[in-house]
């Protein structure tokens, strides 16, 4: 009976990305995981940052013996063998690849095999910690997940990359739903901001596709409506920094036509780097600190499918 309940339990996969490196993706992933585990959810963290894995460090675990690369390269057949139990009840980890070569760029069949195996695992939540950048691997994991969470810093560079990430992710999604090669080519061309077809915004692109194949354009419109990435602003110091989340949400809506959901922000505090220095997880070492509280609020919003509203600021 218990097994049946387990099987029926809805599993959710969350992916945490953001385009830029060093913005706190691993830290936020790890601590969301710990917070969920404390709520008695079974959580599996997967370090999908295949080039620069360090999720294990934010959890205070040494360099693991078994990693994702062992699974990807078929040194082990079953994904269960690379899962590491952590000292926190309900929380386990698949550490990222430690290899230098191939593992950072798994091919399509390797990715498909990983995702297939993840689907079979017994967990309430599987959190994918994505690497920096907008490579296809990262975008595919982001698009595959039930919820894609974007992390940004209140800095121009991080925000630029976040927009680029959003754009790349949904153009890739577009390409997956259309079959016609000429439209695929058009999407590729539109990715170049300085294209000479006058396509600047996704709106322009959809309009152009509609003139070619009306139905396909309508399908793309539906895709835009379905794509709802979530946003976390890390290291906020002032109210203006919090405001950035609302500005990005509104700008995304008006420019891309995408509903970006503003999940929450994490306040800047020295205790974060102290916890990283001491290689102890933030929410364990400083559970009552403001950043830990912020992460609790993010988890709360995620679980209840809520987001921040602007009226709380003023």
């Amino acid at each position: 009976m218990i097994e049946l309940q387990d099987a029926l339990r809805k599993k959710e996969i969350w992916a945490i990305g953001g385009g830029k490196g060093g913005i706190g993706k691993s830290l936020i992933t790890g601590n969301i995981g710990i917070t969920l585990a404390r709520l008695r959810k079974k959580v599996l963290l997967v370090d999908a940052d295949l080039g620069g894995a360090n999720l294990h460090t934010t959890l205070g675990i040494g360099v693991p013996e078994m990693t994702l690369s062992d699974f990807l390269n078929r040194r082990v057949e079953n994904i269960q063998e690379v899962i590491i139990k952590t000292s926190i009840p309900n929380l386990s980890l698949i550490s990222g690849a430690q290899d230098f070569l191939d593992a950072a760029n798994p091919n399509f069949s390797q990715k498909a095999r990983l995702l297939r195996h993840l689907e079979t695992l017994d967990a309430d939540y599987i959190l994918l910690d994505l690497g920096a950048g907008t490579s296809f691997n990262i975008l595919d994991f982001f698009l595959f997940s039930d919820h894609g969470i974007l992390v940004v810093l209140p800095e121009p560079t991080a925000i630029e990359n976040a927009y680029r990430f959003i754009k790349s992710a949904f153009y890739r999604r577009f390409k997956k739903v259309v079959a016609q090669q000429n439209i695929k080519d058009l999407i590729d061309a539109a990715m170049d901001q300085k294209n000479n077809m006058g396509i600047r915004t996704p709106y322009d692109l959809i309009e152009r596709v509609k003139t070619m194949e009306r139905e396909v354009g309508e399908i793309l419109e539906l895709e835009v409506a379905k794509f709802r990435p979530k946003l976390v602003v890390n290291q906020v110091r002032t109210k203006t920094d919090i405001q950035i989340g609302f500005s990005m949400k509104s700008a995304c809506q008006k420019y891309f036509g995408i509903h970006l959901e503003y999940l929450g922000y994490v306040e800047y505090d020295d205790c974060v780097w102290q916890s990283i220095r001491s290689k102890r997880p933030l929410t364990i070492e400083y559970p009552y600190s403001r950043p830990s509280r912020c992460i609790e609020r993010i988890v709360h919003n995620l679980l209840r499918k809520e987001q921040l509203v602007a009226s709380m600021l003023y």
Binding site: P154, E155, P156, I159, E160, Y163, T201, Y203, I206, E221, V224, A225, Q243, I244, F246, S247, M248, S250, A251, Q253, K254, Y255, G257, H259, E261, Q307, V309, A310, S311, Y314
Partner: protein
């Protein structure tokens, strides 16, 4: 289903429902203005400075149109004629929405205004009569402010709802009962806010008014 920013109607631009009260419009305006702050680092990589300036101008236009009952009615009618807005609002709602609404519909209910399936708007949804304030060349005295307010069809209650300045103070300002008005610093703040609502330069209005205020207050001492 998804529109270019230039094609958004004023309600969509301010992210409010077509039934929003004057107070909600004011709050939304303040919020959206902050969102599209020209210095915001969240914008520059999507919009050029010219586009940001254009958005700002449209936000101002939206605010000035929706704030005044007459202009708003005309604008609503245009929206309805172009098929953008459905069912004329019931007369009662119209009178209700000028009052402060209880903490009811949230301003940011996600996409409430765009779930409606709307046809493309008319090419130029901007009302013919742009509600810029008429130039005003004499001094901003209490009675002058009252006159300008009445020209805009605003009641003291509406101004009070929007600015959060007590009704009594607004009356005293218009009646120029200088003795009963609060200290100069507060009065200046009130005048600036009141001027913004009317669409006149706050510095000029406060300057004119305070000159008379000071002249009157200093008289007995001489």
């Amino acid at each position: 289903m998804f529109k270019k920013i230039e094609d958004l109607n004023f309600y969509e631009l301010l992210e409010i429902s077509p039934r929003a009260s004057a107070q909600e419009i004011h709050r939304a305006y303040e919020r959206v203005r902050r969102v599209y702050d020209p210095n915001s680092i969240a914008l520059y990589s999507l919009f050029t400075p010219e586009e940001t300036a254009a958005i700002h101008q449209r936000i101002e236009e939206a605010y000035r149109t929706l704030l005044y009952e007459d202009n708003r009615r005309k604008y609503d009618e245009e929206l309805r004629n172009s098929g953008e807005m459905q069912a004329p609002p019931v007369q009662q709602q119209r009178s209700l929405r000028t009052q402060a609404s209880p903490a009811g519909p949230s301003l940011s209910s996600p996409g409430s205004s765009r779930t409606r399936d709307m046809p493309q708007p008319a090419a130029d949804p901007v009302p013919q009569e742009i509600p810029a304030p008429a130039p005003f060349n004499s001094d901003f005295t209490g009675p002058a402010i009252k006159l300008l307010r009445e020209q805009r069809n605003l009641t003291l209650r509406q101004v009070s709802d929007i600015t959060k300045i007590g009704l009594r103070y607004l009356e005293l300002i218009e009646e120029e009962q200088f003795q009963k008005l609060p200290a100069r610093a507060y009065l200046r703040g009130f005048l600036m806010q009141y001027a913004k609502i009317l669409g006149y330069d706050p510095e000029r209005v406060a300057g004119d008014y305070l000159k008379r205020y000071e002249a009157s207050m200093n008289q007995p001492k001489k």
